[in-house]
């Protein structure tokens, strides 16, 4: 799934910051999903907040390495893992 598609799907969630973490709750039209809530840690929260209409994975990687004490390889892996997680979340 491309990053712009993920950006468009962000509107299907309501987010709230609690401490360093972010809670995501899906907007849903059925009762089955109503207890599904997701918690993003500080890194995942940062990636989520940096998914914009125009961002690329490279932009996010740069922002991540500038803001956290991690190298490019770790940042790439974190982004890849998180985007895969989001994809799974969105296609449920």
């Amino acid at each position: 799934m491309i990053i712009q598609t993920l950006y468009n799907l962000k509107s299907k969630f309501v987010a709230r910051e609690v401490g360093n973490e972010l809670i995501l709750v899906p907007l849903t039209g059925n009762v089955a999903q109503m207890s599904e809530l997701f918690t993003l840690n500080e890194t995942a929260k940062f990636i989520w907040e940096n998914i914009t209409e125009e961002s690329t994975t490279k932009d996010i990687e740069t922002a991540l390495t500038n803001s956290f004490d991690i190298d490019s390889e770790t940042a790439q892996k974190d982004i890849e893992n998180f985007l895969t997680y989001l994809e799974q979340l969105f296609i449920k």
Binding site: N20, I23, P26, T28, N30, S35, L37, F38
Partner: protein, 294 residues
């Protein structure tokens, strides 16, 4: 069930609910102890009508369905600025039991029910009664939860978890030890000036209105040994919010719930509790309430 007049007031969780109709109103047994003579301005007015209009909401957008493979509880439609509800018969999911309309202020309901053989209408027939209470909580700082609550005279503890986690078992254990059970299935928590209050709501059986000041929330599961861990931050919020009653088709509903639980979890401790279903859990909880992992 008991015959009632065409107009009556209920007080549930401190909310005043006024029902009125041109037809005689009947209530399920559990509502009778909540009837009040109080006549302040009602928090919600319910106009009840005999007969269900045909073809309501046909051109409206379906926004939410509460159903599973076995049962169909209700469907919600957006009808202009109002919400329209179709409530299904719990014995026959293809039969409409009631139709209801809630205005955008969440203060006025119109409830349409078929007249029963005794010429009365039953406007709060399950599940519409709890649905009305749920939307009442969305008006203010309150939530409705699937949980039990025991008050030992000093502290009121909420026990919640998935179906079969032991909410009723926990209630029996505390009840046998002399605690007051506020309820063992459905509660309303309200933020009041004095703190977070827990209230029971009408059930299928008669029980007096009860309330207590909330001390702690325990997310329970059966376990070979008693063990507890205090939760904090986002984990405490998401784990406890998962057991509140929600219709998450509107962003504002979710935002309101997230705000409520974020504030509540800052003031009320939330514990993950694995328990052995016997009296030993009582002393274990009391001993570990300040608690880290044990």
């Amino acid at each position: 069930m008991k015959q009632q007049s065409n107009s009556l007031n209920l007080q549930i969780a401190g909310y005043l609910i006024r029902l009125s109709s041109d037809s005689p109103i009947e209530l399920e047994l559990g509502y009778e102890p909540f009837i009040t003579s109080k006549t302040a301005i009602a928090d919600v007015n319910i106009n009840c009508y005999a007969g269900i209009p045909a073809n309501l909401f046909q051109n409206d957008q379906l926004v939410f369905e509460a159903k599973n493979e076995e049962q169909r509880f209700y469907s919600i439609y957006r009808t202009g600025t109002d919400l329209g509800f179709i409530i299904y018969n719990q014995q026959d999911k293809d039969q409409i039991q009631q139709v209801a309309v809630l205005d955008e202020t969440f203060s006025h309901w119109k409830v349409y029910s078929e007249t029963q053989s005794n010429n009365k209408i039953l406007p709060l027939k399950y599940p519409l009664g709890p649905i009305i209470m749920h939307y009442l909580t969305l008006k203010g700082d309150a939530v409705m939860m699937h949980a039990s609550c025991a008050f030992d005279g000093t502290k009121a503890r909420i026990f919640t978890g998935f179906s079969g986690a032991g909410k009723s078992t926990m209630s029996k254990i505390w009840n046998n030890a002399g605690s007051l059970i506020i309820n063992d299935d459905r509660l309303i928590i309200r933020k009041q000036k004095t703190g977070y209050m827990v209230y029971n709501t009408p059930m299928y059986y008669a029980d007096q209105p009860k309330s207590a000041l909330l001390s702690s929330i325990h997310l329970i599961s059966h376990s070979p040994e008693n063990k507890t861990k205090k939760l904090s931050g986002a984990t405490a919020v998401t784990r406890s919010m998962a057991f509140c009653i929600q219709n998450n088709f509107e962003k504002q509903f979710i935002q309101s719930r997230l705000q409520f639980f974020s504030e509540l979890c800052l003031q009320i401790p939330v514990y993950d509790l694995g328990f052995v279903p016997d009296q030993s859990v009582i002393n274990f909880i009391i001993a570990n309430e300040t608690g880290e992992t044990k």
